[in-house]
């Protein structure tokens, strides 16, 4: 593997693992701009780390949690955040 490809793969791995610095992120963006095929490398790493994140034994949630979520959303509906949400949907 060329040094350039190795560097791009390292940056993609750091990005997916959440360990990239701002400079790393900027460098990765520039490399992707120059070579859009790198997006697939990033996505492969992201899929791998997502699998890791969703691999833990599922836990039973409290029976009250869903109701509490729905109450919070009901409070938001009609308020400022709903307007913000509507604005975001138009972006």
């Amino acid at each position: 593997m060329s040094d350039e490809k190795e560097r791009a793969e390292l940056l993609a791995a750091l990005h997916a693992a959440g360990a990239a610095s701002e400079e790393d992120e900027k460098e990765l963006e520039a490399l992707i701009e120059a070579d859009p095929s790198l997006v697939a490398v990033v996505k492969d790493f992201q899929d791998s780390i997502m699998a890791l994140a969703s691999s833990f034994e599922p836990l039973q949630t409290s029976p009250k949690t869903l109701g509490q979520i729905q109450k919070k959303i009901a409070r938001e509906k009609g308020g400022f955040l709903t307007k913000l949400r509507s604005w975001l949907s138009e972006l």
Binding site: E9, L10, A13, L14, A16, A17, G18, A19, A20, S21, K43, D44, F45, Q46, D47, S48, I49, M50, A51, L52, A53, S54, S55, F56, E57, P58, L59, Q60, T61, S62, T65, L66, Q68, I69, Q70, K72, I73, A74, E76, K77, L81, R85, S86, L88, S89, L91
Partner: protein
């Protein structure tokens, strides 16, 4: 999901984006809440805090539903990203409250089987078992750097300080770990199909 038909998560998100906070949200919650709670528990180590953040995650998913773009990733990837981000916020807030300079890494973050935990476990699927077995095959060094970066949100510099390693070593372990994970996934997929 009440009629037993499989649910397309992307359609649920689309319905939420249209403003429906009823059954689409309940169905999405039924599909993913137990997995999200497990991730939050792993990152936060506190059941009560994890339950609290779980609520925030689903409220945020509802809020952000109009922004979900299926071309940029799956629904589960979107949910995990939101959950991880909220958990990292909570860890940072905790760190500020306690004046910690560094987030602490402890055994509770270690990947592995959790049989015997007092929490009520939802029945484990073959998929989860296969994934965990695969991840247990990662080298300990690789697991440690991935856990610190992904689950505690540390940069490579912070990991280097925490583990007392050169930054270059941390980066190469992250790359090796990510390559190993990438290799394992197709094998798991094949084993599930077989």
């Amino acid at each position: 999901m009440t009629d037993g038909r499989p649910v397309d998560p992307a359609q649920l998100v689309a319905a939420m984006a249209a403003g429906d906070s009823g059954s689409p949200l309940s169905d999405l919650y039924a599909l993913y809440a137990s997995t999200v709670l497990a991730l939050l528990m792993k990152m936060l180590g506190s059941r009560s805090e994890a339950e609290e953040i779980l609520q925030e995650v689903f409220v945020e998913l509802w809020r952000r539903a109009p922004q979900y773009d299926s071309s940029r990733g799956s629904v589960v990837a979107w949910i995990v990203t939101v959950a991880r981000s909220r958990a990292l916020d909570a860890l940072r807030a905790r760190s500020r409250r306690h004046g910690d300079k560094q987030l602490h890494f402890s055994d509770r973050h270690a990947l592995g089987t959790e049989s015997g935990r007092p929490d009520v476990l939802v029945s484990s699927t073959r998929w989860h078992q296969a994934l965990r077995q695969a991840f247990e095959q990662l080298g300990e060094d690789q697991r440690a750097v991935l856990e610190l970066s992904y689950f505690l949100g540390m940069s490579h510099d912070q990991i280097a300080q925490t583990l007392n390693l050169p930054v270059g070593t941390v980066k190469s372990r992250i790359l090796a770990g990510m390559r190993a994970l990438r290799t394992m996934l197709p094998i798991i997929h094949r084993s599930m199909v077989a």
